[in-house]
Every structure is written in C-alpha cells, then in structure tokens.
Amino acid sequence: MEILNKIFVAPFADMIAAPDFLMQVLWEGLVSGVLYALIALGFVLIFRSSRIFNFAQGIMVVFAALTLVGLHEMGVPAWIAVALTLAVMFGLAVSIERIVLRPLVGQPDIILFMATIGITLFLIGFGEIIFGGENKLMITSELGIPTGDFVLEPFGGLLILQHIDITAVLVAAALVVSLLVFLNKTRMGRAIRALGDDHQAALSVGISLQTIWVLVWFIAGIIALVTGIAWGSRAGVSFALEVIAYKALPVLMLGGLESITGAIIGGLMIGMLEKMFEIYWGAPLLGGNTESWFAYVLALVVLLFRPQGLFGEKIIERV
C-alpha cells in the first residue's frame, strides 16, 4: 500500500501543495526540452532531405560551441567569433557533402549512417586536437546575454527564471519560426521539402541535390551553434555535452523522424516529463539520477505502441 501511495498519491499531493515548485520544475524541463527540440530539428531536416540519419548532429553542437569558445580564447572578439564559427560550420557542411555524401550517393542507408558515425568520431578527435579536451566556460556575458534572474512569487511561493534560460527559449522559438517560414514560403525551402518527398522527381525538375544538402547541413550547423551556446552557458563546454545531445534520439523516436512539429513537441515533452519524473518519482522512489535514462525508456514505450512516433509523417499511399 505504501508503494502505491508513493506512486499514485503522494507526488500529486506534493504538486498541489507547492504549485510554485511545480512551476519551477516545469520551467526547468521546458528549457532543456527546447534545447532537445532544437537538436532533434537538425536531425529531422537532414533526415527528410537526404534519408540520412545524422548521428553527428549531437557532436556538431559540441563542435560549434567549442569552436566559438576556442576562437574567443585566441583573442577574437565575441561577435566576430560567432561569425567565424558560422563560417566554419558552412565549411563543414560543404566538406561533408563533398567528401562523404557525394561519393556515397545511392548506397544503402546503413552505409550513410555509418559514415555519420565516422564524422562524429572525427569531429571529437579533431576538436580535441585544436581546442583541447578540458571543460571551458561559454562566453555568455561577452555575447551580451543577460545573466541575472527574475524572481516571481506566484501563489505566494517562489519562482526563479534565469535570464539565460529565457533568452534561450526566445531565441529557440525565433529560430523555429523563421525555419518554418523558410521551409514553407521560399523557393529553397520548398525544394528542401520536395527533396524529402521524391528524390528522382526533385532531380527531374532541376533541383540540385548538392546545393540542398549543403544547405540543410549548414542549417543544422546553425542550429547546433545556437544550441551549443545555450547549453554551454548552463553546463560549460566540453565533450561531456554529447551525452545530452544524444537525448535528441529519444525525442526523435517520440516525435517521429520526419516531423518538425514532432521534434518540437517531442523535445518539450521529454524535457518536462523527465524533470517531473526525476523530482516527484525518481528521487523519492529510485534514489534519483533517473534523468539519464528516463527519456530512453519513454521512447521505448512509445515505440511499442506507435512505431512511427507520435507525429511521424503519414505515408500518403493511394489505393
């Protein structure tokens, strides 16, 4: 009885008793969720336009953040370092397309997947050679990101919102909105979506695979940089971040590999659910540290019932 009480009654009683704390938990979850969603978005874009499951997306986040901080350490002013990092991400996109994707066109998916694992390991090694492996601090204040916090008092309680987190959420939202506008309203965006539907037909109307691939990898790079800055501000910049980046995998399982909406909602859901589970169930019942595996178990459960994910794009098939 005691255990049932702890699972089904006590947590909810706690939530009602301290709504301000619940809001704090949800807010923290939302912030990590937004970042998961961003990483997943990078995956989805690349997957949709090239059917490549880009294992390297997570490490691109670390690589982008590391490049930014590394350049700044070398004495480059913060905003110029951002511009240079973007240039590096563009160079990365071009070289990946040239060296890895183009020669492997038409090969089975698994080979391309292996190639992205190769890219992952290469980026880890390359990043360490150039910038070193120790933990670095993100150049938050140099970038002009506010570092204070708001203290609110809902229901007579206490709710602390870090300025960094608010900035991260706002920037992420702006990024997602502009990406959606880009995909739906512009010529290039349409081409990306068309390519996702039918490669051959896209070729036949003169859409160049190479251009589009460079473009989506570059967009993935931009997303990686934004995520890297946001995450680096909270946790420092080192390759330990990659563990967090892999959280995008369960997000994809949950949201579906092809759906942008799925990536966003999946990210937010995983972020919030894992935080709530940790605080209300994990810590009291299992001794904590559930955040590292909860998302994966949740994804597994979803897969059992909906293999295409919650928002997997319906395959339109006429009968």
Binding site: R190, L203, G206, I207
Partner: protein, 276 residues
C-alpha cells in the same frame, strides 16, 4: 486533329545518335538508339515493356546516373551541343525537362507548391512565375480547383496533370513525357493527350513521348519511332505508321495471330528466302 502536318523542315532540337546504355556495368539495355526531335513537334517513342523507352528518355535527361546507368556509346546533342554529361539541373535550364513515368508528384506538397517547384531553376522573377502559374491553370482547370490539396491525396489523372504542369512551369522548349497514360481511364488519357496537343500548339513546346498506348500516341504524334529490345526497329510519320500493316498487327492489335513482333517478321522473311 489528326494530320496537322508538322513542318518537317523545322529545326532539329534534340538529336540522339546511336546511344548504348548499360546499367550496373553489366546490363545492356539500349543497343544503339538514334532519333531526332524537331522543334514544335510531338514525337512518339513506342514499344512494349522493357523495350527501352524510359531508359532512352532518362539517357537524354541525364537521370540515369542516380540509377547506376550510363551512356557508354553514342551521343546526345541538344541544338547541336553535346549534353550527355550535364547534370539534370543544367539541362532543365537549357529547356529540356522530363515528366517521369508514374507521375512522381511531391506528395506532401500542395498542388500549387508542386507547380512552383517546377520553376526552381528560373531566375526571372515572381511576376513571370505568377503569370505562368496562371497559364498552367488555364490548360489544367482541374488543378486550379485542387491547388490547395496535398498532391498525394489527388487522383491519378490530377497527379498526371500536376506533373505535366510542373514541367511546364520551367518554361521548357522540350518536354520528355514518359507514359502519360499509365493507369488512367481511356477518357482521361484522351483528355491528357488533348492538353498535350494544346500545349504543343499554344506554347510551341516540343514533346518526346514514350507511350505503350500506340493507338492514342499515333493519333496525336507527328512522327513515331518503334523500339524493340533496345533498338529502333521502325520509324516514320505517324500517319504512315498508323497504316503500316506490321504496326497494325503488332501494336494496334488488328492482325492475324502468331506474329507478335518485328523479330518474328525478320525470321519469317529469312526462312522464305531460303525456301525459294
């Protein structure tokens, strides 16, 4: 409708010279195909399954590479210029676009977005593209009604229209049209061919048309080539092909039983020669 005789002296746009195509380095599909497409004409490429019609079209539009096929001999010239190693995008810019067999619309894009992707290679501004969208809707009024639906949910006929309309949006000079009648009711086939004819006459677009439906194709085309296992076995003005007894027998189903292809004719004649 039948014999709006083409100006045969018209300039030749596309010239395919004795091409050989091999898939995967081993499978020989085309064994020396030659043909030419005149400006403003409708040229039909006829033949049964596996004759090499689609391969010929893909060899011209350079879509073979993504299927591991390559042109190993011969040449493809467009307006006198060798085009066989250009990538498809460059060819579209030169005015040659293919409408693939089986439509291949972008299923999750709306009909209008599908049409707009056709204008991807163009750089002549929004107004011109809008005007052409209007032009396409005038040829295909049905598409105007369905402009907001996802192409994946439209009917086969609508998808075929969408695919042809999408190609038109690139402002082409030549459309390579692969099997437009596939899986469509006879009435719709007729309608699609009427539109092809209208586009040909109204916009001056030349067509190279691969088709199994010999009957319909020869009624609308000006000139025809007949392919059999990777070779051109016969060619001539459509009106003549229609009257040719062998074509009638093998492709229009109007002859006696027994002989089913040109190969049989040849052996038959050879045997006769031995006997005499």
């Amino acid at each position: 409708m039948l014999d709006s005789a083409p100006d045969v002296t018209a300039e030749t746009l596309l010239e395919v010279n004795n091409i050989e195509v091999i898939y995967n380095h081993v499978i020989l599909v085309l064994k020396g195909v030659s043909l030419s497409v005149p400006k403003c004409g409708i040229t039909a490429l006829l033949g049964g399954n596996g004759a090499g019609k689609t391969t010929t079209l893909k060899a011209i539009s350079n879509l073979l590479h993504s299927e591991r096929g390559e042109v190993t001999k011969g040449s493809v010239k467009y307006k006198g210029e060798v085009v066989q190693d250009l990538d498809p995008a460059k060819l579209v810019k030169k005015g040659v676009i293919q409408v693939m067999e089986g439509r291949h619309c972008f299923g999750h894009l709306t009909v209008e977005e599908n049409l707009l992707t056709g204008a991807y290679t163009r750089g002549d501004g929004k107004a011109a593209i809008e005007a052409d969208l209007e032009m396409v809707y005038n040829y295909f009024p049905r598409l105007r009604e369905r402009r907001r639906s996802q192409a994946g949910y439209t009917s086969g006929g609508e998808q075929q229209m969408c695919a042809i309309g999408r190609a038109l949006m690139s402002r082409p000079e030549t459309i390579l049209l692969d099997e437009p009648s596939m899986g469509l009711a006879p009435q719709l086939v007729e309608q699609i061919f009427e539109i092809v004819k209208a586009v040909n006459e109204g916009e001056g677009v030349s067509f190279l048309l691969a088709e199994q439906n010999t009957n319909v194709a020869l009624r609308f085309a000006h000139y025809g080539y007949i392919l059999e296992s990777g070779r051109v076995v016969m060619d001539g003005p459509a009106a003549e092909l229609r009257e040719n007894p062998d074509v009638k027998e093998f492709y229009l189903g109007m002859g006696d039983d027994g002989r089913k292809s040109f190969r049989d004719v040849r052996s038959y004649r050879r045997r006769k020669r031995w006997l005499s």
